[in-house]
């Protein structure tokens, strides 16, 4: 059974003066995270990836659809069940500088979290747990204890936010762009922490990000989102080596690489207006897609499933099993 399962999750935001405009920021998203795996939700700005993270963490209520954790509907938890949920599922966010109360020292920040979830723990036990959590993320307790958040670097702070999440002993971490504000030379070590914890302790991670290269480095599976729709998903390697959706292909072609220079110019139609794609009846990528046909603008593409992979694109409409 999947640890986390999203079923037809949709989130509609209203904008405009009288809420007259609807933005379907997330539309009919169905996906899973299994035990002991790292799944990356990859997409650019406006893809709905952060909205999905917030719905899982119970910050936004889905307009439609259900989110199940260990078979229980996350949005129907009551009272103590909510606390149980957060002891199982912890969030880590993009900006480590604003994730900590600036007036408290590191040990107090960590103690508060520990005390909230394990109020009976006291004395030496507390100190040991805090030191152990700091060591688990590759920091030396001596370097960070006694310091205020502003005295630490972004990389140290992001490790500490992982340490804080680990104190709770969660089974699943929802990490929303955990490395995008860090320097390139410190990113990889934060990803290594997640992968080490997965391999040694069976932790599951849903990592949300825009960098498909980093997603591929650390993930078991990748889900590619475009303007609220899943366009492709599957095990990381095959998606990366042989992308099926034109959007995934474009993402991969646009990655700046150190082993190869871009050759010809990227084939892309310029977007004319930011929000028009959300109003399309058909594929939301169609306005930018070099392979778009008439049908792409008129109807939602079918999702084709091939073994462990799936792709939603009209190119494949003549093949295989449809859902």
């Amino acid at each position: 059974m999947a640890l986390l399962r999203l079923e037809d999750v949709t989130k509609v935001f209203r904008t405009g003066l009288f809420g007259g405009q609807e933005i379907r920021a997330v539309e009919d998203v169905t996906m899973e995270v299994k035990e002991g795996e790292i799944v990356s939700l990859v997409g650019e700005s406006g893809s709905g990836k952060t909205t999905i993270a917030r719905m899982i963490l119970r910050f936004y209520r889905p307009t439609k659809g259900r989110i199940y954790y260990k078979g229980r509907d996350v949005w129907r938890l009551r009272g103590d069940e909510v606390k149980w949920y957060y002891s199982e599922v912890q969030g880590i966010f993009q900006d480590p500088y604003s994730s900590f109360n600036p007036i408290h020292r590191v040990e107090r920040i960590l103690y508060k979290t520990l005390h909230h979830f394990h109020p009976s723990l006291g004395g030496r036990g507390v100190e040991e747990r805090i030191r152990e959590a700091i060591e688990r993320v590759g920091l030396h307790p001596g370097d960070v204890l006694g310091k205020y958040p502003h005295q630490l670097s972004g990389g140290q702070l992001q490790r500490l936010s992982i340490a804080r999440a680990l104190l709770v002993e969660p089974s699943l971490i929802i990490a929303d762009e955990p490395v995008s504000m860090l320097d390139a030379s410190t990113r990889i070590d934060v990803l290594n922490i997640f992968a080490d914890l997965r391999d040694k302790e069976g932790l599951s991670v849903l990592m949300i990000g825009h960098d498909i290269l980093l997603a591929n480095y650390v993930s078991d599976r990748v889900v590619v989102l475009y303007k609220g729709n899943i366009v492709e998903e599957g095990p990381a390697k095959p998606v990366f080596v042989n992308p099926l959706h034109p959007y995934t292909g474009m993402l991969l072609e646009s990655i700046p690489r150190l082993d190869k220079k871009w050759e010809k110019r990227l084939e892309e139609k310029a977007e004319e207006e930011e929000y028009t794609a959300y109003r399309l009846k058909g594929c939301r990528f169609a306005p930018r897609c070099p392979a778009a046909r008439k049908i792409c603008f008129e109807a939602k593409p079918p999702t084709l499933k091939l073994e462990e992979r799936s792709v939603a694109c009209w190119i494949y409409s003549d093949y295989g099993e449809k859902s």
Binding site: A184, L251, K261, L266, A270
Partner: protein, 322 residues
């Protein structure tokens, strides 16, 4: 002989903060030639943005503490305000960091352009200015309708293209592009970088200084690259050479921390750089990377020498003379 456009020589720009100095740019030298893309890369706090913004507008708490920056032989740091104002946009133009928010929100793009033209290109008629603007907008695949729009009506990618048009409208000899693509999605990033190159090829821009934390995207467009660490230059060279055969341990660490296409944790565990950059109020003597360098030895406590490798490839490190 290549024509020198900008020669920076031993430049020091410090921040005066509460009675002490933060040595953000501390003795930096390099030359930019006509027709090239010169890339400056480094991580947060290395001084790259301070360096280029001091060339355009030195303002407190920034302080010029030494060295020169010769633009066509004239020192930018000894020019009067009036002289500098004349150079802006036509001589040196900058797309500053966070340029997406740099356009005045209460003016239509048309008015932003006309106001700039009135100051920097007073000989052109309104009509000539707008015709040029329309032509440039077409070059970046924006419709002339954009002229009648407010900046907030444009998406990130469209706005960055509009900023490119505005900042190069008067054909600058040198365009400084500071982190122009870091807030953009990868697909848009590529489009904007390719447009920069197109503007250079078309002769709209004379030379480009591109500043970024993203060495891989810089490699795509730069002819030569300079790597900075903690206020100092650690390595300069032709982009190809520097990326394929980096010699400074910091450049090596920076490059190896970026996964190449298809590298995975399961097959090859990469490792990042340990530790953090030094406090620039009180940097370590000698090589500033030494405290994090796996190869550091005693000599690193002294100012590292410039080691020339030929072809303009230089690195500053004691390992080169051992």
């Amino acid at each position: 002989m290549r024509e020198e456009v900008l020669r920076v020589d031993g430049l020091k720009v410090w921040y005066s903060v509460g009675g002490s100095y933060v040595k953000a740019v501390d003795g930096v030298s390099f030359t930019v030639y006509r027709g090239e893309v010169f890339g400056i890369a480094g991580e947060s706090g290395c001084g790259k943005s301070t360096l280029v913004s001091s060339l355009v507008l030195l303002k407190p708490p920034m302080r010029h503490m030494g060295g020169r920056a010769l633009f066509h032989g004239k020192d930018l740091f000894s020019m009067s305000g009036e002289e500098l104002r004349k150079i802006r946009y036509k001589g040196i133009s900058i797309i500053p960091q966070f340029a997406l928010d740099a356009l005045s929100p209460t003016k239509r793009i048309r008015d932003i352009i006309l106001d700039l033209a009135a100051v920097h290109e007073p000989n052109l008629t309104k009509r000539e200015v707008l015709e040029r603007a329309e032509e440039r907008l077409r070059l970046v695949s924006l419709s002339p309708k954009v002229l009648d729009m407010y900046p907030v009506e444009l998406s990130g990618g469209m706005r960055q293209r509009a900023v490119l048009v505005v900042s190069t409208l008067f054909n600058p000899e040198l365009l400084i592009a500071d982190e122009v693509t870091s807030a953009l999605d990868v697909t848009t990033q590529r489009v904007v970088l390719e447009l920069l190159l197109e503007f250079l090829k078309a002769g709209i821009i004379g030379s480009i200084v591109a500043v970024t934390h993203d060495i891989a995207s810089l490699y795509q467009i730069a002819d030569r690259m300079m790597i900075m660490y903690a206020g100092k230059v650690v390595e300069i060279g032709p982009a190809e050479e520097l990326v394929k055969r980096p010699r400074h341990p910091y450049t090596q660490a920076l490059i190896s921390s970026i996964p190449s296409l298809g590298v995975t944790y399961k097959e090859k565990r990469l490792s990042g750089l340990k530790g953090s950059p030094p406090n620039l109020r009180d940097p370590p003597p000698g090589c500033r990377f030494a405290p994090r360098c796996p190869y550091a030895f005693e000599r690193c406590g002294e100012e590292p020498p410039a080691v020339e490798l030929g072809g303009g490839h230089v690195f500053y490190c004691w390992l080169g003379v051992r």
